[in-house]
């Protein structure tokens, strides 16, 4: 797996900054994707490449419950959001819809804008190719591990219902 670029954001990035409500006239992720982080940093959507990482501080995704936020981030090609902490609804929306939301205060403190990162989920670390270091990812609750491994919430319900 190749190293990919980190886009570094601050604390308390809210869902209005991730995808402004004026774009919620559609729930099509591909139509939402060109507007991700538009009001916060316009260069993101112009330059983001498949497999890149968003690295944020505390409370990423605070604000509204809009699931459009993780869906739109995923549609930009971002491989994972790494943050010191996540707002609760964003976190559950991410797990339910298959966007990797990884908690790593170490990475949030250490990663610099433009660093090249690589994710090793088996070892539970993020490798920083530029700084030649790595950061631990906080382990997930067993329920959430099972949810992600089983393909998300809808897949879980399908198994329950036998549909």
């Amino acid at each position: 797996m190749h190293y990919r670029r980190a886009w570094v954001l601050g604390d308390h990035v809210d869902t209005d900054a991730i995808i402004a409500a004026r774009y919620l006239i559609t729930s099509n992720p591909r139509r939402l994707a060109p507007h991700v982080l538009e009001d916060l940093r316009a260069d993101f959507c112009e330059q983001v490449a498949f497999g890149d990482f968003l690295v944020a501080g505390r409370n990423f995704g605070c604000g509204s419950s809009r699931e459009h936020a993780p869906l739109a981030i995923r549609a930009t090609g971002v491989a994972a959001v790494v943050a010191a902490s996540f707002s609760r609804i964003f976190c559950r929306n991410a797990f339910n819809t298959g966007l990797l939301a990884l908690r790593s205060p170490q990475a949030a403190a250490g990663v610099r804008e433009g660093d090249r990162l690589r994710l090793d989920l088996k070892r539970g670390v993020i490798e920083n190719g530029d700084q030649k270091t790595e950061y631990a990812i906080e382990p997930l609750d067993p329920f959430l591990m099972e949810l992600v491994a089983g393909g998300g919430l809808i897949a879980r319900v399908r198994r329950q219902l036998g549909t």
Binding site: D11, H12, D14, D16, A17, A20, A21, R22, L24, I25, T26, S27, E38, D39, L40, R58, N59, C62, G63, S64, S65, R66, E67, H68, L71, S85, S87, R88, I89, R92, N93, N96, T97, D141, F143, L144, L147, G152, L153, I154, R156, V157, R158, Q160, L161, T163
Partner: protein
């Protein structure tokens, strides 16, 4: 070791005798709710489960409120999708057009938010209904889609922060000032993953509307919900409304709280939250005199009858400043009708304000009052993040209805004491 209100309600719905913070459980939901933004995704998720019928057509509520009346073709399609689904599933409670209002105000008014029940809503401000003693929690669309099939939602049991409300509100202060003071103290994640439980002598004197204002803004501090215990004010409110029998739940006397904070209303002047942070709270009037272009009075935070009455009392016999557009949206049709009967709306219109239909519209920069580049607004809603009400260079101050009305008259951020 006893349990808090949240732990008791969750335990009862998860079939457990005892629950402790941090556990993840699947709980039975008494009511599910989605709106015109979140329902289309929830409907897709429901269909993806392979289920054909919702678990109970009496317990799934769909409301068109965010872009209502339909703003454009795209939003009209979203509402159509929601209404077609509601008709096909024969849902008892679907609200659109002249029967729709801001969801978190409409559901309690309709007697659908009941003590001890779990309400899962695909909207962050679902917590508002904690005013009625319900455990009301904002979730995502996929959660609602899955729960429409199973009747269940997964939750991590939150620890509980006890909020003691003491003292008395002054003549120019409102529940919004208590909420803003709470946010100043807690910050954007000071209640991250906690449930707020409101207590104290002042909590017992707050009206249902004031309680809704506080429970509403609990989520701005990262809280999972905000909940009040049941008392005579709750019983009176529900007496002619409750759609189902309900039972009061009280926290155990030996319940364990994560922490306690006390908010004293004595001497708490009218407050504002400055752009672009609900936590940058300062006294109204002295902290900013910035000229404004718009005032919005409404939303799930402050669009109820007492809010409109307070605004009208300030506007009575005065004129809205020539530079300012004042937009007032009563939160529900019943509030609209009563405000019409009482002459509250007449006062607002005579002062030069515009009264629009119940809608979330301007709060989220949706429609019915979107801000142009560089414009400044005072709003009674709950968030003032960058771009929240329109262009990214627009700026929003949050305040209660009296501060908002005074600002409309003076054409700048102001306190009602200045009039």
């Amino acid at each position: 070791m006893g349990m808090t209100l949240s732990e008791k309600i969750l335990a009862a719905h998860a079939g457990r005798h005892v629950l402790r913070p941090g556990q993840i459980v699947e709980a039975r939901a008494d009511l599910l709710m989605a709106n015109d933004i979140t329902a289309p995704l929830a409907i897709d998720a429901f269909k993806d489960t392979g289920a054909l019928k919702v678990f109970d057509p009496d317990r799934v509520v769909l409301i068109a409120d965010h872009f209502t009346p339909n703003k454009d073709l795209a939003t009209a399609r979203q509402v159509r999708k929601m209404l077609d689904f509601a008709a096909a599933q024969m849902l008892t409670h679907r609200f659109e057009g002249g029967r729709a209002g801001v969801e978190h105000v409409l559901l309690p008014e309709q007697g659908l938010a009941l003590p001890g029940e779990i309400i899962a809503g695909a909207d962050s401000h679902t917590s508002t209904m904690g005013a009625c003693g319900a455990w009301a929690v904002g979730v995502g669309s996929t959660d609602i889609g899955a729960a429409m099939a199973t009747g269940k939602v997964w939750f991590k049991v939150p620890a509980t922060l006890r909020v003691e409300l003491t003292g008395s509100l002054g003549p120019w202060s409102s529940a919004k000032d208590l909420a803003l003071e709470m946010l100043r103290r807690l910050g954007p994640d000071g209640a991250d993953y906690l449930a707020l439980e409101f207590h104290g002598p002042l909590a017992g004197r707050l009206s249902m509307s004031q309680r809704q204002c506080l429970a509403n803004m609990a989520v701005e501090a990262g809280a999972k919900t905000g909940i009040f215990g049941v008392d005579d004010i709750t019983r009176d409110y529900l007496a002619d409304r409750a759609r189902r029998p309900w039972q009061a739940v009280a926290p155990d006397p030996d319940a364990v709280y994560h922490d306690t904070i006390t908010i004293n209303a004595d001497g708490l002047g009218p407050l504002i939250a400055r752009p672009h942070s609900p936590y940058d709270v300062a006294p109204a009037g002295e902290s900013s005199r910035e000229a404004i272009n718009q005032v919005f009075i409404g939303s799930c935070t402050n669009g109820r009858l007492d809010d409109l009455r307070q605004a009208a009392a300030v506007l009575q016999g005065r004129q809205v400043h020539s530079r300012v557009r004042l937009i007032v949206l009563p939160a529900t049709p019943a509030i609209y009708r009563q405000a019409l009967k009482e002459g509250v709306l007449e006062t607002i219109v005579e002062a030069g304000g515009q009264v629009g239909p119940p809608s979330c519209g301007p709060c989220l920069g949706g429609h019915l009052g979107v801000l142009a580049p560089g414009e400044v607004a005072v709003a009674t809603s709950n968030r003032n993040f960058i771009g929240r009400m329109g262009h990214r260079t627009s700026r929003v101050y949050l305040a209660g209805p009296m501060v908002a009305a005074a600002s409309a008259v003076l054409g700048r951020v102001a306190s009602p004491e200045e009039l």
